[in-house]
């Protein structure tokens, strides 16, 4: 593999990583900024006995964060492996 190929592999790797990161950050902004803004209206709904808005900021968004990080790492590991950067 020539130096140029290696460089373009790095670029493609970084483009994929960056796209994944952007998706994660958009979801992050939704759960951490948009949802809390809407707690008042959401509280008119009930979810397993909770006012929905309260539920989201007490548990829902938190669960979303945990899931997001695990999924992100799973995808990122796949990207690393695809480009052969996964070796420890």
């Amino acid at each position: 593999m020539s130096a140029n190929d290696a460089e373009s592999a790095k670029d493609r790797y970084w483009a994929k990583t960056r796209n994944l990161t952007i998706v994660v950050l958009v979801l992050w902004a939704f759960f951490s900024l948009v949802i809390p803004w809407l707690v008042g209206p959401l509280n008119k709904f009930t979810f397993i006995g909770f006012p929905l808005g309260y539920y989201m900021i007490a548990q829902g968004s938190l669960i979303a964060f945990v899931v997001m990080i695990w999924v992100q790492n799973w995808r990122q590991d796949a990207i690393d492996d695809e480009f052969g950067y996964g070796e420890e």
Partner: protein, 603 residues
């Protein structure tokens, strides 16, 4: 321990399983002693003393004279254990002691801390941890100093780090003092020094290695101590053993009780204590949503810039395990944070719901005044009841409490055996000590590695460097205890300030250092100086009585700091030449998980 020397890492699962079993056995032993008539005071003292003794032993066994072990625990901490250590490092006295109390009194507004302190890990994982691990630095200023080059950038980072961490550490020492005072029945200002002694025992001899392994032990204690009372209480109230998904009805019923008793300010306020005036579940008042979002944003960006957290991810063996360990960290932290609102709700229900035997609001004043837990906490000045309207009935606005004590007092409020109160005290102590350890180490390491070794005496040999680090640790700890004993601000307030300082000065220089190749030294210095300067000036302005802009008060001054930091960094970077090719190549290397670290080991 001797039979496992050198192979501790291989036996780690077994060691901590035995430890957890031993801790549970100790709890059962205490419960038996209580049944045999041993006094509550003795049990409280035994709990605190026993757990601190364990941490001190771990600290002693982990002593080291190697630079790599002292600064980054030899970079061999497995992801799961680093996750636990980070969780303990992270969950401070504020999370353990004050958070549920904040939700109890602050409702919606305080939940911003819960969202902020969990959501921040998404930023840590996406923007910071894997790249800083690849860099191979010992401290956060080490990254700034190498990426941007030059001692000025390094020095700015050290200053922001020291101010933020020091603000934070005084709050932690304050928390250990509060708990020690209550559990050991000693005056607060002795409690503070006692707490510091425990903290130093864990970190002095073994640096990061000792702190890592005590933090894992402390996580186990604190999570058990947090969950047991909630599970017990919820079971007693008929919400089952896992209240998190079943207390919805309790949360919904709060509106009813709030209407029944009325959320009125007290006729006569009592200094330092609060009455309940905020609704539990929804936003109220001007800017409520804006305030939530700005506070959450400051806490999240602060999470991703606080050096004592970031440096935990320097201790893992690889980039992948650094990411994995962020995921574990958040999972372990989540366990406590989604319990806190449940605890706040159930405790409130205990006090407010007239159908429960523990209710006090609406009961005859004399009857409430004779309750043991009311008397115990009134004696130390953390709680007060006053029949201000003279009707002989305790109204909601006649019950005063310091928010910080909600968690500590809950077992007594719910009428749980004293062994649970002792357990909670030990848990709170573990939470405050573990965070204080991490912070003191972050400060001392930045000063010894970045200021002393990198800037003042680059030829210093290992022994001298490690002696300097330890002397600094001792001095900073003592200074922290001294300031904590002055009690300048509440625990939660001081913590919010620390996050705002950190995100004002460090967030953009750190994030853009990886994500924007064009970012250069001039821009980074401008970003740190402008962000930190603007944040401090704004804090001074609001704190001395200035009218907050758009409701941005002293808890969320990081918004102003971050805005200034971003603008200054981008503008100055674009006005000055791009960094040279070597730096650009360094950034490229940072983005790739494989290959050797940027900085050599033992730099």
């Amino acid at each position: 321990m001797a039979l496992m020397q050198g192979r501790f890492i291989d036996n780690i699962g077994r060691v901590y399983t035995i430890y957890t079993g031993g801790f549970l056995a100790f709890i059962i032993l205490m419960a038996i002693l209580e049944q045999l008539g041993v006094g509550a005071d003795t049990i409280g003292i035994l709990f605190v003393a026993f757990t601190i003794a364990i941490y001190a032993i771990i600290g002693w066994l982990s002593r080291t004279m190697e630079v790599d072990a002292y600064y980054v625990a030899g970079r061999q901490v497995p992801a799961v254990y680093n996750g636990m250590a980070t969780a303990a490092d992270w969950m401070s006295g504020a999370s353990f002691v004050a958070l549920a109390g904040g939700v109890y009194f602050g409702g919606y507004g305080y939940m911003a801390f819960i969202v902020g302190w969990t959501g921040g890990y998404v930023l840590v994982n996406s923007l910071m941890a894997p790249y800083l691990r690849k860099f191979g630095c010992y401290t956060v200023p080490d990254f700034i100093g190498t990426r941007y080059g030059g001692n000025l950038a390094r020095l700015c980072a050290v200053i922001v780090l020291v101010v933020a961490s020091f603000t934070y550490v005084t709050a932690q020492i304050d928390a250990t003092g509060t708990i020690a005072a209550r559990a050991l029945h000693i005056p607060y200002h002795y409690g503070v020094w006692f707490g510091l002694l425990g903290i130093l025992l864990c970190s002095m001899l073994g640096g990061m290695r000792a702190v890592t392994w005590t933090q894992v032990a402390q996580y186990i204690v604190l999570i058990v101590a947090y969950l047991v009372p909630v599970i017990w209480m919820s079971n007693a109230q008929g919400f089952g053993v896992i209240p998190h998904f079943t207390y919805g009805e309790a949360a919904s019923s709060m509106t009813k009780f709030e209407a029944m008793y009325g959320l009125n300010p007290p006729l006569e306020a009592i200094k330092g204590l609060s009455v309940l005036t905020t609704p539990h579940t929804g936003p109220v008042g001007d800017y409520a949503e804006w305030k939530f979002v700005t506070l959450a944003l400051c806490m999240m960006a602060g999470t991703a810039s606080l050096p004592h957290i970031l440096m935990r991810y320097f201790t893992t063996p690889s980039v992948r395990s650094a990411r994995k360990s962020v995921a574990w960290s958040l999972l372990f932290i989540f366990m406590l944070y989604f319990t806190a609102p449940a605890l706040a709700t159930l405790t409130k229900l205990q006090l407010l719901d007239p159908s429960l035997p523990t209710a006090i609001i609406g009961k005859p004043f004399a009857e409430v005044a004779s309750l043991d837990w009311i008397r115990n906490w009134s004696d130390v000045g953390f709680l007060a009841i006053a029949d201000q309207n003279g009707d002989g009935i305790l109204q909601l606005n006649e019950f005063f409490m310091r928010p910080d004590i909600v968690v500590l007092a809950t077992p007594e409020i719910a009428g749980l055996p004293y062994v649970i109160s002792g357990l909670v005290a030990a848990g709170g102590m573990a939470a405050a000590m573990s965070t204080a350890d991490g912070l003191l180490l972050a400060i001392a390491n930045a000063l010894s590695h970045d200021l002393y070794y990198k800037m003042i005496d680059p030829k210093a040999d290992t022994a001298i460097r490690l002696v300097v680090a330890r002397v600094l640790l001792l001095g900073i700890g003592a200074l922290g205890a001294l300031i904590a004993s002055l009690q300048l601000t509440g625990i939660l307030g001081a913590v919010a300030w620390a996050f705002c300082f950190a995100c004002s000065g460090l967030f953009f220089p750190l994030a853009l250092g990886v994500w924007w190749k064009r970012a250069n030294r001039e821009g980074a210095v401008a970003g740190m100086v402008a962000g930190f300067g603007a944040g401090c000036l704004y804090l001074y302005y609001v704190y001395t009585g200035g009218t907050p802009w758009f409701g941005i008060d002293h808890l969320r001054f990081g918004i102003v700091g971050m805005a200034a930091s971003l603008i200054a960094m981008v503008v100055v970077t674009l006005m000055t030449p791009a960094p040279d090719e070597e730096i650009q190549r360094m950034v490229d290397e940072t983005r790739v998980p494989a290959g050797p670290p940027i900085l050599s080991a033992k730099h």
